[in-house]
């Protein structure tokens, strides 16, 4: 039940946002000694992917994992949003919690939201941790749109073959230490978004890391696990203006659950490094 239960120290709440209610998970120590950390999940998924992570990193700082609008338990917009819309919503979310300075972590689609927010809130957003930042070729982008970025992909099949494809895609890119029960959770979490599940990807594919990464001055830690975006993320190194690139060849999807302590150490080391490091 590890992948399903809410870890000790993590609470769940709703707050009002521009599209309706935003659901979030939060770990908040009694006396935070570090800057708050906002964590943006991949698509289609929810903040649950960060539950174990924020439980641990939340020992010394407020760590929050909201569900992006339209995913998890957060209300969806009425029309498909852009990455800049997601980012603006998350900026308002930070305001609602009274954060004047904060760090962000983004996972896949969440990385693009993090970069957009860094540009919208340059004075407030201190440091970024990105899990993957794929630089696509034209041909790869066409293929990505075709496989993930349109409503065609969400059509249900009477024979359930859509579920076999979904499961096998998840299985292919999972961490070797992540069991089948983790995949079951991920599939369940992704299906919650229903027929709008593709909105996250369609927004993400319109924004290119090759253009956005160089615009961000804040320090970036770019983590490159060996998942479906490993190869494309390798190409991101030269686009980092002020950052560090860390390969995680032994990690894949599920790493936040099955290698939590190690990842927390890596992230904490970066977030808490002195200014002179950058």
């Amino acid at each position: 039940m590890k992948f399903w239960r809410t870890p000790l120290g993590v609470q769940r709440h709703y707050i009002n946002g521009r599209y309706g209610q935003i659901h979030y998970r939060i770990a908040a120590p009694a006396h935070p000694s570090a800057v708050p950390l906002l964590c943006f999940h991949l698509s289609p998924n929810s903040g649950r992917v960060y539950a174990q992570f924020i439980a641990q990193i939340g020992h010394d700082r407020i760590a929050i994992a909201p569900d992006t609008p339209g995913f998890g338990l957060s209300d969806a917009p009425t029309t498909a949003p852009e990455i800049s819309d997601y980012a603006a919503c998350m900026g308002e979310f930070a305001d609602a919690h009274g954060f004047t300075t904060f760090d962000v972590m983004g996972y896949h689609t969440g990385s693009k939201i993090a970069l957009a927010l860094a540009q919208q809130r340059p004075a407030q957003l201190r440091r970024l941790v990105l899990v993957s930042a794929p630089i696509y070729t034209e041909a790869e982008l066409v293929q990505q749109y075709k496989s993930m970025g349109t409503s065609e992909v969400e059509k249900l099949s009477e024979d359930g073959s859509h579920l076999l494809r979904l499961w096998q895609d998840h299985w292919r890119w999972k961490d070797s230490a992540a069991p089948a029960s983790f995949i079951q959770r991920e599939v369940a979490e992704g299906l919650v978004a229903g027929e709008q599940a593709w909105w996250g990807h369609q927004a993400a594919f319109k924004v290119q890391h090759a253009l956005e990464l160089p615009k961000v001055e804040q320090p970036i830690l770019l983590l490159c696990p060996k998942d479906d975006l490993w190869e494309a993320t390798q190409r991101a190194r030269p686009f980092l203006r002020n950052g560090k690139f860390v390969e995680l060849p032994n990690y894949a999807h599920g790493f936040l659950d099955v290698h939590t302590t190690e990842v927390v150490d890596i992230v904490r080391h970066f977030l808490d490094a002195s200014e002179q490091t950058f």
Partner: protein
């Protein structure tokens, strides 16, 4: 407008959906308890329809939807006790003293247990299915609802989908199928605990003790044969058959279902 919230329950956060209408003259609140394995999302159409003239609440049972799971399997009486605490919390917050309750399949069992635990609080009861099983049927149902192994190729998901489709007619929108299927997965490894509790709760013992008025709504689903048997066990009960619909009927006929509910809940005793 449906809002969602968490309440700190005995097993951790208990998630619920709620509609609080702005009108001042309201009917008694209606609490709705879902089937297994699923969540309060199956009542979204009923929340909107009945929320026009009363507070309506659809909690996620512990371990289902977004409610935290207990550490071990619990019984129907425990589900009822959890709902009782939620009702008391909201009663103080929203200022009401009596409620009507409605339960769907496993939720229908929870209704009876709650009605017996809180005879003054619970005014009227609606059961969507009131299955009175024979011993042979119970053996068969228990066998059918054993936990399913996860297959590395995902076949268990496909089989779960095909199994779900068995209980829905063609007029149910695909979005409802998708929503209900997604919701059915959220019990995770303990998804079978709901059915386990339901099959442990013998309505033959408890229905005769109910004193509140009871409406049995009987859709044409897997419990259509067992539900009419309940009439003989309850003093103040009647039955409405939904003959042309199975699961998903609330989404297909929300206004008509609202009429059925109001005719019963709002009638003069």
């Amino acid at each position: 407008m449906i809002r969602r919230a968490f309440h700190e329950g005995a097993y951790g956060p208990l998630h619920y959906r709620i509609v609080v209408p702005t009108a001042t003259e309201l009917r008694p609140p209606l609490f709705m308890f879902h089937m297994s394995p699923n969540s309060g999302c199956i009542f979204e159409a009923a929340l909107r329809e009945m929320g026009k003239d009363r507070i309506v609440v659809a909690p996620d049972t512990p371990g289902f939807g977004e409610s935290e799971a207990p550490l071990f399997p619990i019984e129907i009486e425990d589900f009822a006790n959890t709902m009782s605490h939620l009702i008391d919390f909201l009663a103080e917050k929203l200022n009401f003293s009596q409620v009507d309750i409605m339960g769907y399949h496993t939720g229908a069992m929870t209704c009876i247990a709650l009605a017996l635990q809180r005879p003054i609080l619970v005014r009227r009861i609606v059961q969507i299915s009131s299955p009175v099983f024979t011993d042979e049927e119970l053996v068969s149902f228990r066998s059918e609802y054993q936990p399913k192994e996860i297959c590395e190729n995902g076949a268990h998901l496909r089989d779960a989908w095909l199994n779900l489709l068995r209980f829905y007619n063609d007029d149910v929108p695909r979005s409802v199928l998708a929503r209900n299927f997604a919701s059915s997965l959220r019990g995770g490894p303990i998804a079978h605990w709901g059915h386990r509790a339901a099959f442990n709760y013998d309505l033959k013992i408890y229905l005769p003790k109910v004193t509140q008025p009871l409406l049995i709504v009987n859709p044409n689903d897997d419990l259509a044969e067992q539900s009419p048997r309940a009439l003989a066990l309850v003093r103040h009960a009647k039955i409405v058959n939904i003959e042309n619909h199975a699961h998903g009927f609330i989404d297909v006929m929300p206004v008509k279902f609202g009429e059925i509910l109001r005719n019963f809940l709002d009638s003069v005793p």
